[in-house]
Structures are given as C-alpha cells and as structure tokens.
C-alpha cells in the first residue's frame, strides 16, 4: 500500500477543516477526491505532502510511518532524514503550477534531480526530454514559463514532478486555474499517465475525469468523507442527499 492515512484531524484555529479522514491508496490506483470548495480536500492533500501539519492521525507511506499519533498525545513526525525520504515518494502538482519563472522548461525539470538526487546533468537532461515528449512539449524545452499558456505550464509542472520518480503523484485542483479549452489538454496528459499505471491522487472539480479515469472516488463535505467507492457507486448508486445535491450543482455548471 503506497499511502495509508488514518483519522486525520486538522484545524486552523477554531475552524475544523479535517474532522476524521481516512484513505488508502494502492499501487496503480487513481483516486479522485471531489467536494465543494471549503470541504477540506485540498487541505487533506497538503497534509499528506507535509505542507500542513496535522493535529491528530497517522500517515504511512509505503507502510513506513510519516506521522503517528498515540491516543491522547500530539502527533509525532518521522525524524528529518526519514521524513525527507518518505516525502520524496510523493509528487505534487499545484493549482497555480508554481514553475520557477527564472528557469526555462528544461531547467525546471532538471533542477530537483540534479540538486536533490545529485543525478549527473546529462542523465537528468535525457530523462527530462523523455518526460517532455510524454506531456507533448518537446518543442518548448528552452521556453520560459511566461512564454507558455496555462495548460502548457501545468503540463511542465506535471513533468517536473515526474522527474523525481514519485510513487504517488498528487494533484491539487490541477485545472481550476485554466479555461475549459486548456483544461482538456491537461486532463488528457493525466489520463495517459493513469493508463501507464501511475498512481495518482487527484483533488478535482472535473466530474468527467473522476467518473471516467478514477477507479476510486471520494466525496468530501465539511471535513468528512461522506461517500466513497467506485465511480459507479458514487455517481450512480449513492442515494446520499448531500452528494446528490453536490452532483446536481456540478452538472448544472457543466
């Protein structure tokens, strides 16, 4: 099991954002997390990536503890070195891409492999070129981020995350900052990754993606998982009134 999150609790001051979230991700899974804005789904993803600290719960990556909470105690994170190793197994793609603007596409891709993994530059470059081909941006290797469309920037961001060979790639609303036309090209790349067997955890507002590409769908509301299962379970069979209302609204928007 690549990821095991148990009873995650997170609040910002008085505001409880994650009340009790548990989720497992197996190798090859494509898990989609859907839910209204403010339901806590992005925060959950950020907790898994150590961008936010949890108040309670356990997270295991590859069955190794990243953080464990004993009853009545504060959560204890793994020591720095182990934490770094565990975190390196997760990749992250952000809503706002967050490419490094002062580096061109190729430099964005080889930055972490050469600096963090100390990979020889030539090797990192040839790998980056393969990845660029995979996201269909080979012709943009020398372009700077400002010269790219949002969709292209996000595809570079995906390639940059892949360059570190993550076992699980997390996406935080990867298409929310894009107009519908550009959304398609990013979703297509993600769909190809899924077909290649990449394990993915995707927070998304794209119901089509969740329904057609994910093998497991999680519906979150008010910091809780209200419904989860196969796309059919969630989109067709569930009679949960909250979920039905959410899906009704999502459909109207489309």
């Amino acid at each position: 099991m690549i990821l095991r999150a148990e009873n995650i609790v997170k609040s910002f001051g008085e505001l409880g954002v994650l009340k009790d979230i548990s989720l497992n991700v197996n190798k090859g899974d494509v898990v989609a997390i859907i839910g209204a804005s403010g339901s806590g789904k992005s925060t959950f993803l950020r907790c898994l990536n150590y961008l936010e600290l949890i108040q309670s719960g356990n997270i295991f990556i590859d069955d190794e503890p990243m953080v464990v909470t004993k009853p009545g105690k504060k959560p204890v994170y793994a020591p720095e070195k182990e934490l770094k190793t565990l975190r390196s197994k997760l990749g992250m793609v952000f809503q706002s891409f967050n490419l490094f603007p002062h580096k061109n596409v190729l430099e964005n891709l080889i930055e972490a492999p050469t600096i963090v993994k100390k990979m020889p530059k030539a090797e990192a470059i040839s790998k980056a070129e393969e990845l660029l081909a995979r996201v269909e941006l080979s012709d943009k290797r020398n372009a700077y981020p400002y010269e790219l469309s949002g969709g292209q920037q996000q595809r570079v961001a995906i390639a940059r995350a892949l360059a570190m060979d993550p076992e699980l790639l997390c996406f935080d609303e990867p298409t929310s900052a894009l107009d519908p036309q550009l959304t398609g090209e990013v979703l297509r790349v993600m769909q190809n990754l899924a077909a290649d067997g990449m394990t993915m955890l995707v927070v998304t507002h794209e119901m089509g993606f969740a329904r057609n590409v994910a093998n497991h769908v999680v519906y979150m509301s008010d910091g809780l998982i209200v419904e989860e299962g196969t796309p059919e379970d969630v989109f067709v069979n569930s009679g949960n009134p909250k979920l039905r209302a959410f899906l009704g609204m999502a459909e109207e928007k489309e």
């Binding site: 997760l90 952000f94 603007p101 930055e111 600096i115 981020p145 400002y146």
Partner: protein
Amino acid sequence: MNMIEYIIKLMPALLEGTGMTLAIFSITLVISLPLGLLVSLLRVSKNRVVAKAVEIYCWVMRGTPLLLQLMFVYYGLPAISPSLTMPAFTCAIIAFSLNYTAYFVEIFRGGIESIEQGQLEAADVLGLSRYQTMRRIILPQAIKRVLPSLGNEVITLVKDTALVYTIAIHELLRVTQIAATRDFRSDAFIAAGVIYLLLTFVCTRLQKRVENKFAYYR
C-alpha cells in the same frame, strides 16, 4: 581668468577629490551590498531573537542621520575611549558601511518576502533544502525585483559621500569648497555638480545594464 581656464587649473584638485569620493563610494558598496544580502537572510530567519536584533539595528541606522553616525564614529568614539581613535577615512567607511548595510537589508528583505509562497512550496515538495531554495529559487527572483530600489540607493550613496567633508576628508565637495572660498568664485561648485552628475549618470547606465541582464524572464 575665464571660467574654462579656471576650471582647467582646478582640475587636478577636483580629480583628486573625485578619487577620494569614488574610494569611499566603492569601498562602502563592496562591503555593504554583500553584507546587506547576508544580514537580510538573518532578518527573515525563523530565529525570532536574531530577526529582532537585525530589525532593531536597521531601525537605529535608518532612523538617525548618517551625518550623526559619521560624527559619532569620528568624534564620539574617541571621547569614550582614546583607543577607539581611528583615521578619518576608516571612520567614514565604518559609518557608511553600517548605514548602507541597513538600507540594503531592508531592500533585500522586501524582495525575499515578495516571492510567492507557491515557489517555496514547489521547491519544498521537490525536496530542496531551505538553503537550496533560498540560494537557487528565492534569491535570484528577489534580486531581480529589488534592482530598481538598489539602483536608487547606489545613486544616493554617490551624493552622500559629500558628508565626509565634515570630518576633514578631502573628497570632491571639500576640495571644491576650499577653492571657492579661497578664490571667491562660484564656478568650482558648478564643476563639482557636473562631476557628481557624471558619476550618477554612470551608475544609472550600469543599473540599466544589470536590469537588462535579468530581463530574460518575467
């Protein structure tokens, strides 16, 4: 003697003064720019005590006149202990460097803090250490953003060097003033003004060139 002849005759003295002005200017810059960058890292450090200490330092240095600081180092320190007596030139470099470092710290801090949180997070999830993130991601972008402010400060420094005439250093303004009072003529001031203008003009051009070097991305 007409103005041209007078200024030509005065030129060797003016140039010597300009040399001193340039010496104070460039030594101050060479010390305070890198120092300002280094200390700005302490200013944004997670260690509250260190950050606060730097904040107070900047507050004092920026909140009191440079002229006062200069006089304090030159006249004030020897009054505290004769062993603190130093040559005027050394005093000038100490006062100017401490003062300008404070300004540069605040400029670099502003640049560092203006970099979007997303850049830090992207570097963090890719596994870059705090140091690597600062060195490779934050600072290159921050420096580009603060270039206009740095340029301003450098031009101000050219003119601030004139303050050292109060501690009997023969820089451009002092040389000029001596000649003007001795000969009871005003053209020396005009000549000195033109020299200051030339110096700041060169600074502006250099600033433009550095900004162009960073213009390859937005």
